[in-house]
Amino acid sequence: MNAVPLVLYAVALVAYLWHFARRQPVVGRTATTLLVASALAHTFVVGMQTMEAGHVPVTNASSAISTFVWLLALAYLYTEMTTDERAMGVFILPLLVALQIIPVIEPGVEDRAPVLQGPLFGLHVSSLLFAYASFALACVIGVTYMLLFKEIKAKHLGFFYARLPSLQVLDTMNQRAIVVGWTFLTVGIVIGTIWAGQAQGYAGGDPRVQAMSLEDPKIFVAVLCWAVYSFEAFVARRMGWGGRRTAYLSALGFAIVLLNFVPVSYFLTTSHNF
């Protein structure tokens, strides 16, 4: 079922690329329309899975990725509609397409382990996924910032100069995305900790629950992420870091997020493999 949004995202990507290259307003509107259609189809898929399973489809890595893609698409659409800037779509859409391939080729079975009960678990995963979606946006904004920065510094005003909003705007958008992401990351980690405490009570014998400590790679990397983004959101600017360094940091932070999200989830963690 995840294949339908995948195809739509891919078509939308083509439209965004075309718009980026040729800058025809009609193509731009078409691209947005296609992305809205993709997001709607994806909403339907996620909704169906929720109804089928009786909870938000986040209990295995594949469905969590699908939900993440959906949230990222929505977050991007929100940014595009509030700023009227389509240039970032060219960078976001490839990410959506690439990640959406995973649930298509390896559809996870959405049966919730008895351990994963209670509303706290759903909140934990949802807020983390939303945080990651924000970080993905921040990363893309950061990358575009660096591209534009390089062009202006090198005094070669070309491709990106004509297509991207100003450095100031990109920097502000980046900051905003980081703060939103950081908030949800914090909430997600706190709820996760509380939930783990509760799980000790009713499923203390589960080896995965026993493995829930800082020594588990997934948890460790999540905390590392939190440290990186806390630094970026609250310390970097006070230290006088300019937009370019914080942009690098956004990219670095999201690289860690992706690392945690895909390889760590599938291969390394002993606590979060449900």
Partner: protein, 451 residues
Amino acid sequence: MRLLLVGLSHRTAPVELRERLDFHTRGLEAALRALGARDSVREAVVLSTCNRAEMYVACDSIESARDDVLDVLSRFHQIELTTVQRYLYESLDLDAARHLFRVAAGLDSLVVGEPQILGQVKDAHAASSRSQTAGPVLHRLFHSSFGVGKRVRTETALGSGAVSVSFAAVSLARKIFGALTGRSVLVVGAGEMGKLTAQYMRSQGAHRVTIVSRTVAHAARTAEAIGGASAAPWEELDAVLGASDIVITATGAAAPILTKARVEATMRTRRNRPLFIIDIALPRDVEAAAGEIEQVFLYNIDDLQATVRENLARRTSEVARAEAIVGEEVEKFAGWLRSRGAIPTVVALRQRFETIRRAELQRLDFKLSALPPEARAKVDEVTRLIVEKLLLIPTEQLKSLAEGDTSGVYADAVTRIFNLQTAAPASDEADPERSSGGRVEPFPAKARGPR
């Protein structure tokens, strides 16, 4: 109806002659009236800018219209025809339309893609509307040209990129800071170039402009000339620098004033807020190495000129796409022009039907007179509606068939079948009442639907 364009431009005529033939000096509307008064001229629009003087005329006969247009030109400007004739160019029908579309798109401008010309074309059209010299054909032609201008601007990069140094500086500042509102500008040196650039920044919304010069009196004078600017003594340069976002340096100093170390020192106090330095002095006022500092964007006059050249080159590469748009729009206009070929037939057909209706009502008058007045009015109304409904489809078909057909075979067939006598082509169309409106419907009022 045919189109005739006679004119000259920066491509054909020297500036002295263009100045001499500027229609605005003697009044554009007077020229339009003079043109409109000629019998051969059915419609007229005059486009007069500092780079061109062009007369667009809709007429029935090119030969007589050309004579009249040239005569008006020479009388109006009191100039011998022989002195201007070799600078004039002439285009007919669709070539004239293509020429206007290219002009409106900025393709024929001195600086390709410059945006002012579209406004000037609009002004020319508005003037002819006021003097009621434009009719349905030129209204349509000019409205199409506005569409071409708009399409070229949104669909191509023909008008993009700054093509003057001070505009390049402002657009760079915009790319760094977003809007210029609330940004502070520092001008080092009280020279003319610095003043001009600062003035431009100010007109673009820059919040505060400060002039620093070795002689405070000079700085104060320049600040006054800019308006809303302030002057500061030379000793405060570092302090002002720390508070500014954009710095324009234009002194005559032999050695650099802003060294890398000096800029670095102020960057610390600025907490790495971006600093955009425009060095328009020769020799340089700012050490080139200062551009290596994180968050410092240093451009000198050569860099700005290089971006201007790049932009001009990029505009040239967009010309083909703009020409394609012009071609499409010429095609559309040609279709519309052809559809007008059916108008005399339509008019004659409607007149024929209306005559029959009147005659029949007349013939039955003795019977109808027995009816109460409301019923008689109803009969009149109903018969009129029937006629209009009968004619609705033939009218639309004649128009749309003519659009794709150059031979006029359908109009011809209708003329023969109904044995119509068509008047001189579309003579009812020069009605001044209709020419004053914006969009003009080229056909008589359509039949009203059932109520």
